[in-house]
């Protein structure tokens, strides 16, 4: 039984992370990867930057993973999140869960990524093909009428 969370400045090695969840008592493994999409809310994304308040984020991620073990009875759960510059197609986040059965593996994996997105102090700045950029949820989404995406004023 174990949990593990890390930030990574470089490409996530999913094979290495998956290996940390191996367990002969487990019959089900569920994983999620978030990939950088080439579009968001109608804009063409070229690349993005992730920035994190790492101390708080790591604490909060530890709580989320522990909650997943307790709530769903899974054996192992891990998560790694990129920070820094990412190109379209790169993996921004990986979540993996192993469990005796598939039902709890799926449910715990879904719980973890939902909570990670909701609770961790991590920010994403999108750079668009048209030259604009913006912090997601701060600039455009906070001003639904304006839908501004110019660089910070």
């Amino acid at each position: 039984m174990g949990t593990r969370f890390e930030f990574s400045l470089t490409a996530i090695d999913t094979a290495r992370w998956r290996a940390t969840l191996a367990d002969p008592a487990c019959g089900g493994y569920a994983a999620f990867e978030g990939w950088v999409r080439n579009h968001n809310e109608g804009l063409q994304v070229q690349r993005l930057e992730y920035e994190a308040f790492e101390a708080l984020a790591a604490n909060e991620a530890g709580l989320i993973l522990a909650q997943a073990l307790q709530r769903f009875g899974v054996a192992h759960a891990a998560c790694v999140h990129r920070v820094g510059e990412l190109a379209v197609g790169e993996m921004a986040v990986w979540v993996g869960v192993s469990a005796a059965h598939r039902d709890e593996a799926f449910r715990a994996c879904r719980f973890i990524i939902d909570e990670i997105k909701h609770r961790l102090p991590i920010w994403k700045k999108e750079h668009y093909r048209n030259g604009d950029s913006g912090w997601v949820n701060c600039e455009r989404c906070a001003q639904p009428g304006a839908h501004q995406h110019a660089p910070p004023r």
Binding site: G34, Y50, E51, A52, F53, A55, L56, A57, N59, H81, A92, V93, I113, I116, K117, H118, R119, L120, P121, I122, W123, K124, K125, W135, V136, N137, C138, E139, C141, A142, P152, R153
Partner: protein, 82 residues
Amino acid sequence: MSTRRISVQYYALLREQAGCRGEQVETAAVTAADLYAELRRRHPFTLDAGMLRVAVNAQFSDWSRPLRDGDAVVFIPPVAGG
């Protein structure tokens, strides 16, 4: 009026608008809410406090919790991990 020395760190949009990653402030602000109001007078922060959360000493905190000398405060814009 007594003051306290608070370390403030900025991330993301707040970092860009403050023009720095953090600063030490000598402040009479009693709570984190007071402190953000004070800092908005010095920096062009566009985000209202209602859109932020606050962390004190790397723990999520209440806006009304009294600040103590030496506290480390982080104002947390809307998150977008994953």
